[in-house]
Amino acid sequence: MAGIPIVYNLRNLAARRVSTALTALGIALVAWVFIFTLALSGGFQAALTSTGSPQNAIVIRKGSTAELMSILDREVAAAVSSQPEIARATDGTPLAASELMVVWNLTRKSGTTTNVVVRGVGPKSLALRPTTHLQQGRMFRPGLDEIVVGKMVSERFRQCSVGDRLKLAGREWTVVGVLDSKGKTYDSEIWGDVELFMPVFDRPVYQSLTLRLADASYLTPLKRRLESDPRMNVEVEREDRFYAEQSGTMATMLRVLGLFVTSIMSLGAIFGALNTMYAAVGSRTKEVGTLLAIGFSRGAILTSFLIESVLLALLGGVIGCLLALPVRSFTTGTMSFATFSELAFRFQVTPLMLLAGLGFAGLMGLVGGFLPARRAATMPIVDSLREA
């Protein structure tokens, strides 16, 4: 015999409007929280993992876990820049940039303060990051008291719009441009001329050297040669791996928090779904008896109630997804342990996350609906028909 038509379930859901709406909304919120936490940790991780390129390598001092702790002398930087594996610019010079990185305390628009990465960059720095470009204004002119700021810095901090004058290291700098790096960490940085920054920030050494490999496969020989040279005392790492590693602690913490919250919360919502479905089964005892009497199999009844429960949960899932769409426009900033300064990022809602939220909701319906459905399917026909 065929299954019970789905329209029967839809009508039942519509008949118990308030109960359906409340349960679906409860599940919607759980799905929303699920997507929200995914979007949070996803956004943070995306900012870091998208930053590096497999074509680039970064050189830092041996033993330092991040740029901030690294020191590269001018001599070492010059020696690294002359390696044959480095790609050449059109004018024949190596595509490599020695950079200085300091962090500086700035005031957010909200009045609170935090550290911001201030990077002294060279003439090749922008070319080494092909997706980064000036969104507004122009590049700073070397030797002048000019800086460009990342998009997020411009949005979130005081005195950081084009034309503003920002005080750093006892000097006033004119903001002449805004950098857009398409969600990479450079959006949270301030850039200026490295040769000027060195004396002004009283740092006679570089922190890191970024270079473009002429071919990605050149990394291994370059890494082996430089790291085994005791005069260099450096570490060479593929740029994308270097940044991906930095997301470690924070991304894990965000993910653990999300997983913890959503798994406990979903259990609560499953309890709610159980209650609703048990009540649905209880109030339709006679109907179930009738269905059995006219020949529907117990399997068909089980399936029908499961479908009803999953439909209810999916309705919640769809609402949750819709509520989660605006989350995309949230930006937030948190401290990156590697730079000891703020990394601002946009929440990332991907279709996959929405699908996961929907699947998660469906699963809640399936789990929450199973026991009540089994109860409906195992009712003795005679007793259920006799009941009120």
Binding site: S19, I27, V30, W104, G272
Partner: protein, 387 residues
Amino acid sequence: MRFFRLIWAHLTRSKRRTFLTVSSIALALFLFCTLRTVMTSLDAGIRASDDTRLVVRHAASLVFPLPLAYRSRLEQVPGVRRVGYGNWFGGYYQDKKNQFTQFAVDGPSLFDLYPEILIGSAQREAFLAEQTSCIAGQTLVNKYGWKLGDVIPITGTIYPGTWQLTLRGIYKASTPDADENAIFFHWKYVNEGMPQGRKDLVGIYWLRVASPSDAPAVSAAVDAIYENSPQPTKTETEKAFQAGFIQMMGNVSLLLTILGSAIVFAILLVTVNTMMMAARERTSEIAILKTLGFTDALVLRIVAAEAMIVSLAGGFVGCGLAFLVFTLLTFLKFDLTAGGMFPNFRVLPETVGWGLLLALGMGLASGLVPAFTAARLQIASALRKVA
């Protein structure tokens, strides 16, 4: 309470439903307590701070050091009783994953500035007498199973190399909010191992002033001295310094509040639904109660009390569970410190208080609709519907 048995009968009418509802409320409040504990644990540094302690750092950022020469000048600032200093070491023990608070400090002033560090005088003297020694907090010692006299290798990320430190003392914290997950060793030891150009640099100075009311004047006086020097200072109370740290974490509290509200609201919807279903099933019973002479107000109170009891029971279970679980995990030496970010992950009594208050609120909100529906119920129509 004359009607307690009646309410009890209602609650036990569908034991499964009551159990499920209590459980879902309990889960929501467990989460609430956990999220709030994350927030309060971040603030532990603020609670542990002392109003007579000031922190002096480079005006630009903690990353920049100050000269050692500032020490003698700071000692002359009127109102300053004691000056200490130290550097955040930022290394790890054996593996990069083993990170905790490490400070290279000026030994003698440490104990004057931080009376929270409780240590036997013999261990203290042993630590002060030996340049390569260290003292560690009890929690940290338990975690890694160290013993007095052990040599602990700490690999520096800011200060290159692996530094061998002999454990000469184990301290306990005098207040629950102070950090027992830290290790202190001698600034001099690190300083002597540094190359020229990186010697004689100090990350932060700690000042002790006579009374909290001296703090603003002393801060202003210190910052005025160095205002136009190449290394200007920022002096603030320890509390403000710790608060600055939390600000750097960004709007964590906002995120947690959003999550917490969504959780509570979701479970509230679930509970409202259950209460309404429960009341709907009992329409005829309520009509009979009214026929027997129960007033509308009494029926309202009975139905509302039922919701309150369910909610509060969930509250007690959820908050109690959070308290028990995290106390037990700490007791079992389970690492909840997240790399030193939460040196003391513990559920505060006021968190439990807020949780119970929230449960009360949820009880009120979920009982409201069914209680009024029951009170307004018309006997005749209700009895007819059932028949």
